[in-house]
Amino acid sequence: MIVLSINGQDSQVEVPEDMPLLWVLRDVIGLTGTKFGCGIAQCGACTVHLDGQPVRSCVLPVSGAINKKITTIEGIGATDIGKRMQQAWLGIEVAQCGYCQSGQIMSATALLAQTPQPTDTDIDRAMSGNLCRCGTYVRIRAAIKQAATGQITLPQTIA
């Protein structure tokens, strides 16, 4: 029996220790906001936080998450930075298909937690592991800057 702390709640799961956290979240616990894109740490769709650090859950054995605080896209809105990031994402209307965006927001939130005022180079470094086939990259960059500065840089869509 493995006990995981996910978004502030403990869950008990009966799974092999080498099972990647991604599949424990999605198929066992039912938290499907974290996505499968490649399974080999190439796309970032499966990004979650482990004690605030972004990790690719598709290659992280669940045993590596024991005694750590796991945060997923379902829980990130409970943090101040996560909330701001989600709002910037909506304000700039980043998402197209949206499939990559859970991972994008998790990577972006971890960046801002460590680097409150990121430069373009910081953004390049933190975000280039997250693929987006819809090509929303320019808006991702703009949304991170908006969340960081609170300054609205692009014309905002109306509700």
Binding site: P16, K35, I73, A95, Q96, C97, D124, C132, G135, V138
Partner: protein, 760 residues
């Protein structure tokens, strides 16, 4: 975590839908709700509530007004990121006079009669047709519903309907100041006789159309709550993953599953003619089981196929095959002058949608239920009928949001396979393809081989033009009846036969050369236009160079009377600063102009090419005239994303075959652009009163030639084969060698490594 089922209130129950029930529910209802845990079935609870017997006003296939105040709009196209739901909801809401924040949207059920796209002759989403075909249909549907609601109010007040106005779903009788909400009118409106045609607003009265309104589908895309097909979980469901024969047309001979069955959590191994699936308690068990199989394939007739052979065959067909004429104007043969000729080659491409292929299927003796994100939902019913032998009315397809389509989900092969797997077990199965399977078993954009030539007169003006393209037809299998009488597939000459330029003598033709049988081809974002505009606009650049003219001035001189093309050309080049000052060495600016999908675009790209041949995009400026704009925010997003999609392909993507199998496996060797490689992009939308044109694929069409023309401007090297071969762009071999020897292996992108192999 417990998953419990709450049946809708009907004797038949959700898992045993009768025909009556299916009709009533329109096959739409997800007949369960999650009772525990943090997940919720996004947007679906509403459906269940409405369909549990609340009276509603449903004047047509698209509008539902409940007497509880709910307004549901049924979306005939599907949402795969392109903004279709927002655009279509806007058209309906505009004429219905409700706000986009007051409505919910629903996926249309499979129903060709109600939801076919007349431009495609099928209930299909593709070809950048969504707004074009719905522009009138959906506004009429909204206007008709509004007419009935207003009539109901006027009858209630015993006043003339012309004295009533509507705003945000509230009808007002101005002279008396009385108001009624749509919710209060829904029941009465259902009794009013529908009009033949209700009046439409004049564009100057539009409240929503043309505004950058918030997308209707995004709130659930920033908190993980919106489910895609891959996120569907139904009671008792197990998870499968599959491997099909790596060679096309090959078959399964035998499989030793002893080790697979020993994997904890593996439940079953299912054999198909050409594939093996492993079903497990979760994906991880299934995946490990699949890896533990010992499979023996009959590799079939294509077992030795290589990409080199494929292009050899294409070249041969181009030379000796029988061309079908797509356009023949004047006399190309008798023209004298300076002849310029070139040969272009385009690779097979995979879609690599971010959401890997998946389907949830439950096959029961009397019914089959499918959850899938599909661009062709009615075809999913067809294949399920074929595999299960059940009549169509016993098949329920719940369409889902898609994590990208790009043409991949116009094919139902994976749904057919999933039904065949699920048929062999008595529980629901979610079949998920690994990324490796997704790339190895795609419906590939075919490879093309194009020979093109033009004759320049004494002033450097092109006076004759011939273009012979050679490649496979997608249409021939996708919609055979749409093929031309002479056997022409119009897709093959799209944007080649209809140039934006004046050309007194021209012949455009196609030599059909299908892929070896078993190697299925498919639509890929931008379809024929993506292929042809790359060839045409690269070649126009070559001609400008041969004529010693500036590429923009050269294009202008060829335009003749084409004001919309001229306007985007002038706007984009002016905003990009074309011709204003020299660029630094190894920097270049490229232009492309075309009119794909009923829209006009000009894209100007700036690049820098390092001495080692690495390309950095610096800036992109687009001008677009897509007629009347429904949502400028969507137009801008589709241009930005479409460019990245096209550049990705030009820079990296190519599917190659060795021993009959696809060599690429995952995003490590089927590379796509990343954030750090994406330049700032400007999008300028031309104000236009023309009919709406397409938008979703247009920028992908423009991306490749604008980039390649910029690379030529930077390096003087004309690349005619995609993807780009960086080794051809190296200006300083010693610098490259030094950089490579200083770098650790991890620093070296795989494409640079291939350059290195050539040098060392």
């Amino acid at each position: 975590m417990a998953i419990r089922v709450t049946p809708v209130e009907d004797g038949d129950g959700p898992l045993n839908p009768s025909r009556r029930e299916l009709i009533k529910r329109g096959g739409l209802v997800v007949a369960f709700i999650w009772l525990s845990g943090p997940m919720r079935a996004w947007g679906m609870a509403e459906t269940a509530r409405i369909d549990q017997g609340q009276p509603q006003f449903a004047p047509n296939a698209f509008v539902r007004v409940g007497n509880d105040g709910s307004v549901q709009l049924v979306m005939p196209s599907i949402e795969m990121g392109q903004g279709a739901y927002t655009g279509q909801a806007t058209l309906l809401a505009e004429e219905l006079d409700v706000g986009l924040d007051q409505i919910t949207v629903e996926h249309a059920p499979p129903n060709r009669k109600l939801y076919s796209n007349p431009m495609l002759g099928e209930q299909a989403t593709g070809g950048s047709t969504t707004i074009r075909y719905c522009w009138s249909t959906l506004r009429n549907a909204g206007a008709a519903a509004r007419y009935l609601l207003v009539s109901a109010a006027a009858q209630h007040w015993k006043v003339d309907p012309s004295q009533c106005t509507v705003a945000r779903g509230v009808v007002t009788h101005a002279p008396s100041g009385r108001t009624l909400r749509y919710a209060e009118l829904a029941d009465a409106a259902a009794q009013v006789t529908p009009p033949d045609k209700a009046p439409l607003k004049s564009p100057s009265d539009f409240q929503l159309i043309g505004k950058p309104l918030r997308r209707v589908d995004t709130p659930g895309k920033v908190d993980g709550s919106l489910p895609f097909g891959i996120d569907i979980r139904v009671p008792g469901m197990k998870v499968a993953t599959v491997q099909a024969c790596p060679t096309f047309g090959g078959r399964l001979v035998s499989v030793d599953d002893t080790r697979a069955r020993a994997v904890p959590g593996v439940l079953a191994v299912v054999k198909l003619d050409n594939a093996v699936a492993v079903i497990g308690e979760h994906f991880w068990a299934a995946r490990q089981g699949l890896d533990a199989l010992d499979i023996h394939w009959d590799r079939g007739a294509n077992g030795k196929l290589t990409t080199e052979q494929l292009f050899k065959d294409l070249a041969e067909a181009s030379e000796h095959g029988t061309p079908i004429v797509g356009r023949d104007v004047g006399h190309v043969d008798g023209v004298s002058g300076k002849l310029v000729s070139a040969t272009y080659q385009l690779p097979m491409l995979a879609h690599a949608t971010m959401e890997p292929i998946n389907t949830v299927v439950h096959v029961r003796p009397d019914a089959c239920e499918i959850w899938v994100g599909s661009q062709v939902p009615a075809r999913c019913v067809d294949v399920a009928t074929k595999i299960t032998g059940l009549p169509a009315e016993r098949i329920v397809v719940h369409n889902q949001y898609m994590g990208g389509g790009f043409g991949r989900r116009l094919f139902e092969d994976s749904v057919e396979q999933a039904v065949a797997i699920a048929k062999q077990v008595d529980y629901p199965v979610k079949v998920i393809w690994t990324r490796e399977e997704d790339i190895a078993q795609d419906r590939y954009r075919p490879a093309y081989y194009d020979r093109i030539s033009s004759t320049l007169d004494g002033q450097g003006k092109p006076v004759a033009w011939t273009h012979r393209t050679t490649g496979a037809s997608v249409l021939a299998t996708f919609a055979p009846s749409a093929m031309g009488k002479n056997g022409l597939d119009p897709d093959l000459v799209e944007c080649a036969a209809d140039l934006p330029y004046e050309m007194p003598n021209m012949r455009v033709e196609w030599v059909r050369h299908d892929m070896p049988s078993g190697l299925a081809v498919g639509w890929w974002r931008g379809v024929g236009s993506t292929h042809n505009v790359f060839v045409v606009e690269s070649f126009v650049d070559e001609l400008a160079h041969a004529a010693g003219k500036d590429p923009v001035a050269f294009r202008k001189s060829m335009l003749g009377d084409n004001p919309r093309a001229l306007a985007v050309l002038e706007l984009a080049t002016q905003k990009a600063g074309w011709g204003q000052g020299a660029l630094p060495p190894r920097h270049g600016r490229g232009v492309a102009l075309a009119a794909p999908f009923g829209s006009y675009l000009c894209v100007v790209v700036d690049v820098e090419v390092s001495p080692q041949g690495e390309i950095s995009l610096r800036r992109a400026v687009t001008a677009v005239d897509c007629g009347m704009v429904v949502n400028p925010n969507t137009v801008e997003a589709q241009i930005q994303g479409g460019l990245v999609f096209g550049w990705s392909a030009a820079l990296y993507s190519g599917i190659t075959l060795k021993d009959g199998a696809v060599e690429q496996r995952n995003f490590n060797d089927y590379r796509v652009m990343r954030l750090n490689q994406t330049p700032p992009m400007e999008v300028h939308i031309v104000h236009s009163k023309e009919q709406p044109g397409g938008i979703g694929e247009t920028a992908t069409v423009m991306a490749m030639p604008s980039l390649l023309n910029a690379v030529f401007a930077a390096t003087g090297v004309r690349l005619r084969t995609l993807p780009i071969d960086r080794s051809a762009l190296v200006s300083d071999n010693n610098a490259l060698k030094a950089a490579l020897s200083a770098a650790t292996p991890l620093d070296i992108p795989s494409d640079v490594a291939s350059v290195a192999r050539m040098l060392v």
